[in-house]
Subunit: 138 residues, 3 copies
């Protein structure tokens, strides 16, 4: 088969779900597949350059044990989701676009976004780039 694009609508801005985004992105990129991330809502908010390396919390279900597990791995040197995405982008084929509607909602300007973000696009552009490939919503 060719290398079909994997598209991910990133909605959630908690560190656990963004880590899932990063792992799934890095894995697909390692297989040579193009990956297209579309940042909406709280995920977009997490990509502001003044807070991308901040603590974005975990899903409520993580609980104290989950919090402790994540902290222990980070203390042991595990890359953050932002670092993992930077590494995946260096492999090539990873594109990260902000959703224009969510930019309006959160009153974010492109200058406020981390350089990981390649640009801003609307939902129809997102669909056209995704084609008939797989789309995840995270």
């Amino acid at each position: 088969m060719s290398d079909p694009t994997l598209s991910i609508v990133c909605f959630s801005g908690t560190d656990d779900r963004l880590q899932a985004v990063a792992v799934l992105t890095a894995g697909a990129a390692a297989l040579g597949r193009p990956v297209h991330l579309f940042l909406q809502y709280w995920a977009l908010d997490a990509f502001r350059k003044d807070r991308i390396d901040a603590d974005h919390g975990l899903a409520p279900e993580a609980g104290a044990a989950g919090r402790e597990a994540v902290d222990a791995l980070r203390a042991a040197g595990q890359a953050s989701w932002a670092e993992t995405l930077r590494q995946a982008k260096e492999l090539g084929g990873v594109e990260i676009q902000a959703c224009s509607l969510s930019m309006d909602l959160l009153r974010i300007t492109e200058a406020e976004l981390d350089p990981l973000v390649d640009g801003v696009e609307g939902v129809t552009s997102f669909y056209l780039a995704a084609g008939e490939g797989q789309i995840l919503f995270i």
Copy 2:
């Protein structure tokens, strides 16, 4: 390419995720694609006709700043997710079905659902309608 159906399993009933459903539905419909929504659990509950226009809250991660952003946009006249879905249905090609198992779980009768909902179906009917097209879980 033809216009492949986009299917969305709608699970979450918070206004932010339902707004994401509405935006992704409207965008696909604007491209001429058929869209098939399958309402489960808390999303189904949000489509009761006596509460579809109520406040359904946001994901916990939204926080106070997220709440404020959503309220400001609504005050500025942004359409609610239900209004966006109504408009998308007028374009044609958008079908909204309630999951029969979730109807039983929540003891909802078809008469209690908003007219946006076209009917009730089981999960196998959902898969048959989705074919090999894209499926999102929101």
Copy 3:
């Protein structure tokens, strides 16, 4: 059409989302489709054999009414998500794999997992098994 594999990345470990996983798995299996579950994070935690039958809570949005509805159905004899998955596996074609990175994160050993789990794999193996078939993230 042939019977394309349905792949589900299971991230959330609450009983309502795991029930959605079980229903979507059982429905696909009933149609003769292979189903491949990939357990990450809190979903993986829920498959520990010493707690798979415990109460894993619901999404916060469920509220008191949601809690009551789920409890009523369980009291009426509805199968738990774990039971539904066991039944689906007996039909054949359902494979459940733990994500190796999440095993490390949560310091879980394979011996601690419920026998429902068939093994441990990395994300690239997951993608290769999924091929170009549908992938859901729950």
